[in-house]
């Protein structure tokens, strides 16, 4: 009987033209989401790659010139710094790039706003073009991106509700329910069979379209972590789908009319997907307010020294405190503008890093709170999980940031002493210049975070179904 109902439900679904149109529209939207994600990743990684290529080319170029004994040019119109000068390389901007995870296609996430090409220099960053980013059109952040995550989080529930808002009320209103139940069939079984039929159909649709999308967009299936992350994604989507179906049958169990069910379903969707997240966002930023950015500016400007006026005093003090930095052969020129500039910039950098830490901590606090509050709305659970899996959220970025910090330290330690000691880079030194290599976060951490979310989604669904079955005892057939 159970399989008969499932088969019958499928036959009914496919016979309804409006449903087929809806399914095709949904499949196209899924496809478009995947296409956009793939396009974003491709363009964005090309830009990052161009940065790295330019950097290596610059090093190779300078190394070659150094080997040839070129000492720079001061001729008007052809100014070139000494290629072996630790000052010009160290002060220059080096990029540490966060590569996209193999499953980044699942969500653009925060990758359009968080700096995934982090600038590193011995100077304070605000002087560099890394801090002078022109950035994406603000309008784009207002609208949000049409990526796969959007289709899953916002549209998938709507499609589910469109399918099942009248799963019982529809049958009742057409009088079919009474006839069906005159057969040896319980209401619970009927409902379970109908939901199973719709669930299987929908999940298969998402699965097939996504799989085709991944194949077409040329995702590397053998990349490390791809399989684990994809399985996690499948599980999240499964649990999220389950939740919305459970919700639809729960609403149906009250025995309202189809129209009332539709209103109730859309109201619940509205609250869980649109209203609750924005309310929680307000709460989170009220509990852990991020200080105004002007504090960062104040920190930067608190080091208020002039290289020309204060340089001599600062440098002589610095060399006294750090005799190991004293050049071996010659005495440093304490009026050297560049040396004083390095000194002042390092001071500013230190101050700014301290203040920046305050911002980072506050955002981290916010993120930790979100990780707890996410359980209030299934769409937040899913949103967080998908960003986590795609590696385009705050968690992976935090992991990246800590590595950038280390790299920044290594960069400074390599160049700054050389500058004070008035040394030049040797040909061999060019290969020793620190390079950034991102170490991927462990997938077990991702699995743990995402796994908990999935568990809660499933528990919510089971709870709703339990309540539904309880209410079905008193379901009125007319």
């Amino acid at each position: 009987m159970f399989t008969k109902i499932i088969k019958n439900e499928w036959r009914n679904l496919f016979a309804e033209r409006s449903f087929l149109v809806l399914a095709i529209v949904f499949a196209v939207l899924l496809g478009f989401g995947i296409y956009n994600g793939a396009k974003w990743i491709k363009e964005r990684s090309e830009k990052s790659k161009a940065l790295l290529v330019a950097q290596e080319k610059d090093f190779a170029d300078k190394k070659e010139k150094t080997a040839k004994g070129f000492k720079g040019s001061f001729e008007p119109g052809n100014f070139q710094p000494d290629p072996a000068s630790p000052y010009s390389i160290g002060m220059g901007l080096q990029y540490a790039v966060l590569p996209f995870s193999p499953t980044a296609i699942f969500a653009v996430g925060q990758s359009d706003i968080l700096p995934i090409d982090a600038g590193v220099t011995i100077s304070s960053i605000q002087r560099t073009i890394a801090a002078k980013a022109i950035g994406e059109n603000p309008l784009s952040f207002l609208a949000g991106r049409f990526d796969l995550a959007f289709v899953i989080i916002y549209l998938l529930p709507l499609f589910i509700l469109a399918l099942s808002f009248n799963i019982l009320s529809g049958e009742r209103e057409t009088g079919v329910l009474q006839i069906l139940l005159s057969q040896p069939l319980s209401l619970k079984n009927l409902l379970t069979a109908k939901v199973t039929a719709q669930f299987v159909f929908l999940y298969a649709l998402v699965l097939i379209v996504t799989l085709i999308g991944l194949l077409v967009s040329g995702v590397n299936f053998s990349a490390e972590g791809f399989l684990v992350r994809t399985i996690l994604w499948l599980a999240v989507v499964f649990a999220y789908t389950l939740f919305w179906f459970s919700l639809a049958v729960f609403i149906n169990s009250f025995g309202f009319s189809s129209a009332t069910n539709a209103v109730a379903c859309s109201a619940v969707w509205l609250i869980l997907v649109l209203v609750l997240p924005s309310l929680l966002n307000i709460l989170v930023s009220a509990v852990y307010p991020v200080p105004p950015r002007s504090e960062l500016i104040a920190a930067e400007r608190s080091v208020n020294l002039d290289m020309r006026k204060d340089g001599k005093r600062l440098l002589s003090e610095h060399y006294q405190d750090h005799p190991e930095l004293m050049p071996k052969s010659e005495k440093p020129d304490l009026n050297d503008f560049g040396l004083a500039f390095v000194y002042v910039q390092r001071l500013i950098k230190e101050k700014m890093d301290e203040t920046q830490e305050k911002f980072n901590n506050q955002i981290e606090n916010q993120q930790n709170l979100v990780s707890k509050l996410r359980f209030l709305s299934p769409s937040i659970i899913t949103g967080e999980a998908i960003n986590d899996i795609a590696g385009t959220g705050l968690n992976r970025h935090k992991h990246f940031r800590s590595q950038v910090k280390e790299f920044d330290k290594a960069w400074g330690e390599f160049f700054v002493p050389k500058i004070y000691r008035l040394e030049k880079l040797s040909v061999d030194d060019f290969d020793k210049i620190p390079r950034f290599k991102y170490k991927e976060e462990s997938t077990s951490e991702v699995s743990a975070r995402v796994g908990l979310g999935i568990l809660v989604l499933v528990l919510m669904s089971v709870g709703l179904m339990f309540l539904t079955f309880g209410k079905l005892e008193n379901y009125r057939l007319e």
Partner: protein, 474 residues
Amino acid sequence: MIAKIARKEFIECLRDGRFRWTALIILALLLVSLGLGWKNYSDTKREIDTAQAESRETWENQGERNPHSAGHFGVYAYKPKKPLSLVDSGLDNFSGSTIWVEAHYRNPAKHRQIEDATALQRFGELTAAGVLQLLLPLLIIFLVFDAFAGERTNGTLRQILSIGVKRSSLVFGKILGTTSALFLLLIPATIIGFLALAFATANESLLSSLPRFLLMCVGYLLYFGAFIGIALTVSAWASTTRLALIILLGFWIFTCLALPRLTNDIALNAHPMPSNKEFWDQIYEDMKEGVDGHNPSHVRVKELEEKLLKQYDVEKKEDLPVNFNALMLQQGEEHSNLLYTKRYDEIWNIYYSQERLQEYFGAVSPFLPIRSFSMAMAGTDLRHQKHFIDEVELYRREFVKMLNMDFANNSPTKDGYNYFVGKEVWKKAPKFKYVEPNTNWALQYEVWNIILLSIWCFGALGLSVFAANRMRVI
């Protein structure tokens, strides 16, 4: 007759539990968002005022240094919060709020609030504008979807028409009834919005915000009119209430939810941005080779030198009574000003092209024109952002020029950079004072959106009359 129908419709709305609950929730959300908007406005305003004052204080107390060093130290310009941002914060959180004003560089606005937020922010923000643009249409749909379809299913439609009620009266009655019910919600919301605005602003900025506020209200009325018309049309056309509801919800999902994102991605793909590095590489290239590629910097410096030697009738640069270094710096500024305008405008033209492409889609979604129009009236759209950064740029030129000229006129070339000044000069530097553009300025860019909104409103209402005249009775 129309009045009677309207009255019946109005009373029915009030008695309807669905309406009462949704209206209450929406009203509550509207009030909360207005309250939050108000708090956000006053907090941010205070922060900005403090920061702006602090920036000036640090500037004036930077101690003795060379004016050019001071030019590198610079000052900061903060974007003032607009009073109407408490209704519609628009792009405020997504666009830079601070510009570092310094010598040599025209810096982009930085510190987008969204950089300091979790992914929750991406679910959207609770603003009064958001409630009005997204949730109110849903309320209208819930109110109106069974206007005709329900009467038909119940069989009352046949009875009403049989006693000689004109179909057009029926439509106008329904429009009037629904609108009055909506006004029960909108009037208190508008009054509270106005009060919030009045409390948040000083008198003169309240006066200048008032036309913008009223125009915004008109815009929203047109938007709601469009949804009432569409909902009535669908209700007249659809065979069952269920079908009417599904179609209307589908329309809402498409126009308010999917289309804004769809058009955004289409626009981003159609008009791609250069990378940050490409942008700055281009600027460095321009600086070196000259804005037109024909007068590289060393040639320009040579020309300046010759001109000055002739003007002061001296043999060597070192004998000049004015500081050649400073004049060279100023010449560099004059040159880079041109190229910055060119390159920044290129970027903004990409933004505008993206925006325009999205606005074309307003022909299929009333949501897009109201979103743009509302932001424009609130002063939180792209045009206002550009206005701010352009004003800051004009200020930067004035600021840097003042420093360079002080340096040039008060020290001879032979002293090089050994010219140090203090507070008395820093105090003379101009202060940044941003004056918001007036309503007419904002309106000139909104013609297309206003036309679209009007077409949507009157077109949809007209269509509902047409549909009612042709609807099936049974």
